[in-house]
Amino acid sequence: MKIKSIHEIVNREYQYGFKTEIEPGVQVKGLTEDTIRFISHHKKEPEWLLEFRLKAFRHWQKMKEPHWAHVDYEPINYQDVIYYSEPKAASADDKPKSLEEVDPELRRTFDRLGIPLIEQKKLAGIAVDAIFDSVSVATTFKEKLKEAGVIFCSFSEAVHEYPEIVKKYMASVVPYTDNFFAALNSAVFTDGSFVFVPKNTRCPMELSSYFRINTEGSGQFERTLIVCEDNAYVSYLEGCTAPRFDTKQLHAAIVELIALDHAEIKYSTVQNWYAGDVKTGKGGIYNFVTKRGKCAGNHSKISWTQVETGSAITWKYPSCILTGDHSVGEFYSVALTTGKQQADTGTKMIHIGKKTRSTIVSKGISAGESSNSYRGLVQVNAKAEGARNYTQCDSLLIGPRCRANTFPYVDIQNATAQVEHEASTSKVSEEQLFYFRQRGISAEDAMASIINGFCRDVFRELPGEFAVEATQLLGLKLEGATG
């Protein structure tokens, strides 16, 4: 297809919209205490976890869905959502399977998504946890990581194998009372990833989780917990896709990170959930996610990097609570919206410890009829002597019908704080595209080149090969294959 205008470039089709035909196992629709008891029982959870879920559920019932975000959507019928969905071949009734036993159809699905569930040399640097609807179907390199002392497994497995660690840290950063969607997740969460890196350990490979929603009408409520003890380091990346359905689907996740003294966690996201139909806005994922990291230890560091390209609605603010003295929080974000997508995303940097530092670099790209908002809070508490923040917030508009907004909040209670904010808005114009084309460069390559230039500061924060992946992803979304 020959691409001639900005309009054609931004209205490309979603590449991961296929659905896997696989025999369904248990599915539970509607939300009552029975739903929760069923999930907990089916997963053979200990009593304390069921209690936690029920408390969260009762609290959630008293809460109201928040509507302060700059997004607009049809009301969600919470009784119409499938809260638990597992393929028969990966039932929670069975014991965790070895990699060789993973159902071939599931394996093919992840292959098609570019996530091979095998431990081959080529992929030796990356361990993968693959989550399909409500269950983790495989985790690679578990044994090899264990030799290094690193625990990497599904959240469900962690509940059974490492209950003390889970109990100690779960909900310590995001309590179930935190917000409406966090309460919902705490009540009904199904699976997710668990990472524990013990003292003085540098995780020997990149860890990654891949989330796939396959069943129509199914929600995904995953929960991820990453703990780095003193002087430990881990780099983790998550990716997400879903088939193309006409109905909206709910994704409400919680991610909690805890970094102790001198620990560092690098958390990267490449989010490409189905965004809904480009023209009508039908279907797509409601991505309502609570991600928060706690720099509990002195000199600890948490760095969020996100490339958000999918979802009909995005509502997420990966944040850092900088409790430890000299701790560092970072947020690097590229959020791309096209078609009818709406994103309200940003971060919160809460400075509590002395000499804490934070950096925010947000790049919003809006195209089509989409709406893209940055919302960020920089809060410096009274005792956070010498805290510093640098925020850079840039918007790029493509075409005449999209919108970009910036909502920066700054709350300073300590006079020694230094807070800087820079912002810019620019446009990709038809003149620019013509300029490239007049020099023999296709409109697609022109767009790729402009976008990559705009996102460079964020892409270079991504782990090596994922920077290439992110570039390609924006490529697929915006301008087709490049080069």
Partner: protein, 253 residues
């Protein structure tokens, strides 16, 4: 067969007739100057040849090397050897000038079935071409036209021309905004790029550029029509007498 063959060309911008029957032939090795008052359609003529999407051909023939240009996208025209030095080169923040030049150069090589050059190989080509237009080294580290002065932008256009070595160069008021020294450098560059195989169409307001780049033919455009063509001396006449004596239907645009 002329390199560029235009017959009775009519073209619109935003549904307004701008070109109202242009006939023009340009042969390899020739330099043509298009002169005329403001709003006469000079820039539109350059744009319609390059394939600017804002200009629509409503009637007439527009051929380049025997091919109907209306069938070709702007990038295809560029790859076939048509180059437009823009009157107002657009700024492209975030895109490095050197990589932009390499992208354009490699697109041309690829179209010609040649292998692409890596940054180091390309740098050698670039060094040599930069001398032609005396472009400072720091041009390469900056983003395309971003924060360039008017004169720097024009010089950057000619640098691109030097890198791409087009068959047909359309220079749209490349002289405007240049001081005398810069004008000489740019004109020098254009002259050094001239050959028997390629042609230049200069769109200009003033005669002064033509002191440096001497045209074979001068055409006076008034209200979308070529009202007079002649040799280089026509430019001097216009310089002295203005355009009024040439007006069609008793008026100028």
């Amino acid at each position: 067969m002329p390199m560029l063959g235009i017959q009775d060309l009519h073209a619109e911008v935003a549904e307004k007739n701008i070109l109202k029957g242009i006939t023009l032939e340009v042969n390899p090795g020739e330099v043509h100057a298009i002169m005329g008052p403001n709003g006469s359609g000079k820039s539109t003529l350059a744009k319609v040849i390059a394939g600017d999407p804002n200009v629509t051909v409503s009637r007439g023939i527009l051929r380049y090397e025997g091919r109907d240009l209306k069938d070709l996208d702007p990038e295809q025209r560029a790859l076939a050897g048509i180059f437009l030095a823009f009157q107002y080169p657009t700024e492209i923040p975030g895109v490095n000038n050197a990589s932009f030049l390499r992208m354009a150069y490699n697109a041309k090589r690829k179209a010609a079935g040649q292998g692409e050059l890596d940054p180091l190989e390309f740098d050698e080509v670039l060094q040599e071409r930069m001398k032609i237009v005396q472009a400072p080294r720091e041009f390469l580290d900056r983003n395309v036209n971003h924060g360039f002065s008017g004169g720097e932008k024009k010089r950057n256009e000619i640098l691109q021309m030097a890198v791409l070595q087009p068959k047909l160069a359309l220079l749209d008021e490349t002289d405007s905004g240049l001081d005398v020294d810069a004008l000489r450098v740019v004109a020098d560059g254009v002259n050094r790029l001239r050959s028997k195989e390629n042609a230049v169409v200069l769109v200009t307001h003033y005669q002064r550029l033509l002191n440096y780049i001497v045209p074979d033919r001068v055409h006076i455009l008034v209200d979308g029509r070529i009202v007079k063509s002649g040799g280089k001396e026509l430019a001097l006449t216009v310089e002295q007498k203005g355009y009024d004596w040439l007006s069609v239907h008793g008026r100028t645009a």
